[in-house]
Symmetry: C2
């Protein structure tokens, strides 16, 4: 494997700073996927924060969500904004980079440097597009394992993530229990619900309805299906918030005007906010990646691999678990998270469950939520103490 | 005014039977809109069921929702399906056409015969498109009042409707209290919430993102923005259901297959269901009408016309009210309906409030819900008895 700069998909804006590290895995290390297909070569783009200790025992893998990336705690190279988990990861923060070595990798199928549908298919010399094989949450975790192996880390002190990141944390604990000392899945589910599949399907149909999508082969044209992707993002964004938060933040307040326009401008603040969310997303995200990653989430059903019994996924596990949900999260509601905690209890695993009071919906896991950070600090502190990490 | 056949927008499928009655109002009877604009001439397409009694005292106005039309209780001329409220309206049913004269009119801005953006603009001789003036819920009610006047009905025994139909019922009671003996707003709100505006905005952006929309001027091209409208409908349709109903009805069941396809086909039943909802909707609905009617709902804020105090909208009203909500309706949740009931109480109005246990979400008002029908039967029966209607 070699270190190389990842290639960002055009016309994403140029990275403003170092886009991170990458590892390349050649033909001798193919990624064998759940679909049965083999992906090779692959590049994994990642970021690290803090220092790996001599015992290599202080590594924490942070797994990103659908629209996240490896820039958990550093300026995003495209948007110039702080990392998506800047509240949580850093010196002295809940995931304390003064103590821990934090790794965050762009998922397989992603668009920030890790091999995905915007990468070049070595067989054709062209962008994969829909020729990219479908990947699953387990495939994402397999790729992460290759990275962790390459970094010489025998056991992760913790795997932490929210939403799709939480799915990965669960999959890590199920597939490689001996490699995971502790896991903290946040605002997630062990299987994607019908309603969540439905919202994803709307997003995919919005992308596919955009004539610039061209069956996924838009790379050659140089014109991206930005309108479709923006609509997909807008629809998804509503599901990340709560009715109460929307009412509190926007209500029926008008945007830059004193009276209704009697037209289709963004009269209401919520409209201009949503339009902005859609428009800025297309600058940093690839439409085909959006299709692939939403599909991976839809396919996620951890119990299905264990005879339909979720507890079997964790039978005999020594991993410590902390499951976290938020009261106003209707995308990954408390009941879905409790289901995981129940299964872990049924499997005799070491598990704690915390429901955090917040009106900020699913997005709460990305926001400044002191109770989340307190929970993290306590959970990671206990794990570190048990592993003699100072 | 004259009776005429409504012109259905092409390429909607040809009506399978009588598309209903219409009334035309000429230049001497313009519709003066909230925007200040005047719309003239206008056509109102409507259906009636049952017979008006000699005292003209047994008329019930049924108001349709966003995607509804005048075919409440008769075969839809485009789809060939039963009327959207066939469960509720008919001989011996809750809204008993053996006793009552039921009127249902396509709203102004609609696409089933009433003047809307697909109508011909008399000033240009071309389809209105976005040249159609924005209409409000109050404008819809004003047009209905013209119809009721034309039918020689002094007072409606009741105005009943769900969702946007409930908004109209509220507006009727507020604007013309002496014309409304009773009102039954179901699964509705006195103002559209930020979240609901957000979902509507996604739908509108999906339509406007479709290049076939052509700034609203698609009529000339003959090609409709069907993909955009289908995506809008899919997104909206999710909001009409409940998570529990989706889980019960579809869960993660696969569609016409035994295993995941590892592709973007409709693997899951919920996907094929949603796609079907989108595809069939475009056969019967006009994309511009969808823009206008969603906008009318967004603009609805009844209290705003009364100094921000909802109770003032009903001060001194003699109308009897029955407010109905459904436990699993998250689009127009119980709390929004209770707010109406509280305002009516504060205004000293005659009001009852019923929350019906159902896991079918917002759509419950359109489905076979015995408790809803029992409530209707009781409420209408009491109103009829008070008015000496047999």
């Amino acid at each position: 494997m070699t270190d190389a700069q990842p290639r960002f998909l055009r016309p994403l804006k140029a990275p403003a700073e170092n886009p991170g590290r990458t590892l390349s895995f050649g033909p001798e290390q193919p990624l064998v996927l759940d679909s049965g297909k083999r992906l090779s070569p692959i590049i994994i783009a990642y970021m690290t924060y803090g220092r790996l200790n001599a015992a290599r025992s202080n590594a924490i893998l942070v797994c990103h969500a659908l629209s996240g990336d490896q820039f958990a705690a550093s300026t995003h190279p495209v948007t110039g904004k702080p990392g998506w988990w800047d509240y949580a990861v850093g010196p002295g923060k809940a995931i304390d980079t003064d103590r821990f070595f934090v790794i965050c990798a762009n998922v397989i199928g992603g668009c920030m440097g890790t091999t995905g549908p915007a990468s070049i298919d070595p067989e054709t010399g062209q962008t994969f597009g829909l020729g990219f094989p479908l990947v699953t949450i387990r495939d994402m975790v397999r790729a992460q394992l290759m990275l962790i192996d390459a970094l010489g880390i025998e056991q992760l002190l913790s795997v932490i993530g929210g939403s799709m990141g939480g799915m990965q944390a669960l999959q890590w604990a199920a597939s490689y229990p001996e490699r995971v000392y502790s896991a903290m899945p946040i605002a997630t589910a062990a299987r994607h619900s019908a309603q969540n599949i439905a919202f994803h399907e709307v997003g995919r149909q919005a992308i596919m309805a955009d004539p610039n999508w061209r069956g996924g082969d838009y790379a050659l044209s140089g014109i991206h299906p930005s309108k479709g992707l923006a609509v997909a993002r807008m629809a998804a964004h509503i599901t990340y918030l709560s009715e109460a938060a929307l009412q509190r933040k926007f209500g029926r307040q008008l945007h830059d005007r004193n009276a209704l326009s009697f037209g289709f401008d963004a009269d209401f603040q919520i409209e201009s906010y949503l339009r902005h969310q859609g428009m800025t997303f297309v600058d940093r995200f690839d439409a085909n990646s959006y299709l692939y990653i939403t599909r991976a989430m839809d396919y996620f059903d951890l119990a299905a691999d264990y005879g339909g019994v979720l507890a079997e996924a964790f039978r005999g596990s020594n991993t410590r678990f902390c499951i976290v949900s938020f009261t106003s999260d209707w995308l990954f509601p408390t009941i879905e998270n409790k289901r995981i905690a129940h299964a872990l209890n049924a499997a005799g695993a070491n598990v704690s469950f915390v429901e955090i009071e917040s009106d900020r919906g699913h997005d709460a896991f990305l926001l400044d939520e002191p109770e989340l950070f307190g929970t993290m600090t306590g959970f990671l502190g206990a794990a570190a103490a048990a592993r003699n990490i100072r």
